[in-house]
Point group: C2
Chain length 239, copies 2
Amino acid sequence: MSNPSAAILVIGDEILSGRTRDSNLHYLSCELTKIGIYLQEARLVQDKAAEIVDAVKWLSSKYDYLFTSGGIGPTHDDITADCIAEAFGAEINVREDAFKLLQKYYLSQNIDFNNSRQRMARIPNDAKLIENPISVAPGFQLENVFVMAGVPNIFQSMVQSILPSLKSGKPLLSKSVKIPRGEGEIAANLKKIASNHKNVSIGSYPYNNQGKFGTNIVVRGTNSDELDVVAKILMSTLL
Amino acid sequence: MSNPSAAILVIGDEILSGRTRDSNLHYLSCELTKIGIYLQEARLVQDKAAEIVDAVKWLSSKYDYLFTSGGIGPTHDDITADCIAEAFGAEINVREDAFKLLQKYYLSQNIDFNNSRQRMARIPNDAKLIENPISVAPGFQLENVFVMAGVPNIFQSMVQSILPSLKSGKPLLSKSVKIPRGEGEIAANLKKIASNHKNVSIGSYPYNNQGKFGTNIVVRGTNSDELDVVAKILMSTLL
């Protein structure tokens, strides 16, 4: 499979404590699937430097792309930029390009561009800025890591701005077949079909509608003809 | 901090592909927070044995508890039980207690207890069964790992049945303070307050209501008097 691989690292105590329900992972997974990038792993960690640095090192070396969400604001718990720099041994300082962007914005809004806000211009050397059309403070790309905001509408706009720059693969297509029989009844045949069609992945998801058990089968792959063939086999064999 | 620590491992292609939005992580995080167990990390991996085994080894040795969700059904993509056994070097076979539970259920439902369904009785030796009041196929506990179903209502009922057996800590309380000022304006004072109150964790979450920036500040800890004190300081300093 020549499709690029990816992971997401969601940074922030608020999701692990249950205060906030993550939506960035789900949004990113849908967007990547459309352009043929396989999201293969997700991790959620607290705002702790050692955890973030370790996860960034591991995930960025294992997958083609790593996307991060959260921890790039002006407050004491925003430590992502420094952690990314540490993970790559990069220097990090207030950078002039980011500083000017922010300075111009706060001046236009008649808002004090104080020290805390200037912290948001801390960007590793050699990183490429990611535009933030909503609140200006930029994300950035360093090596194969894309560092983005945690606030969902800002995260989403940043994802949209980086998508065209990613090496995409054949779009990952899927076809669902609904079988009104329990998983246990169709499992043996399903296994055979799956082992006869290794180019597609076949997932099986039980449902229970008011006491009626059934199974949604999802066939995923990059060749739509093959998906059609497998879907027909599933229906003729399992229905 | 004497509160136990925990991680969750969500297993299944369907969440990483965007087909399904995870709800088990959010549910578990809320339940653990109530009884004083800190959820400190979450990972989502595909239905791949090597990934699951590695994650189980790592997370079960790092945290007091590991909870897993998904991959314990009767189909070819359900490989969690075998992966858990492998991670701990435990033997795994069709176990008589689980077999009898399932046999009795399928007999009562007049459903064929075929080979695929018998696979759900594959439970590592020495593991303790976790009751499944909805579709009977049990989860299990091996060492500090609790293996549960991915279907949300089954996951939730399994969580409810294991909660009383967990070593809990002081409940993790939180208090929110809404400040109608941007994060950048309050960040310097917030940092000082945070560094003066190391027993609580102070998180800062920006919001944007129709163009009005503001900040929700969440103070978390186990001592409600201290939370009240810090909340008062936040309001008097930042408002």
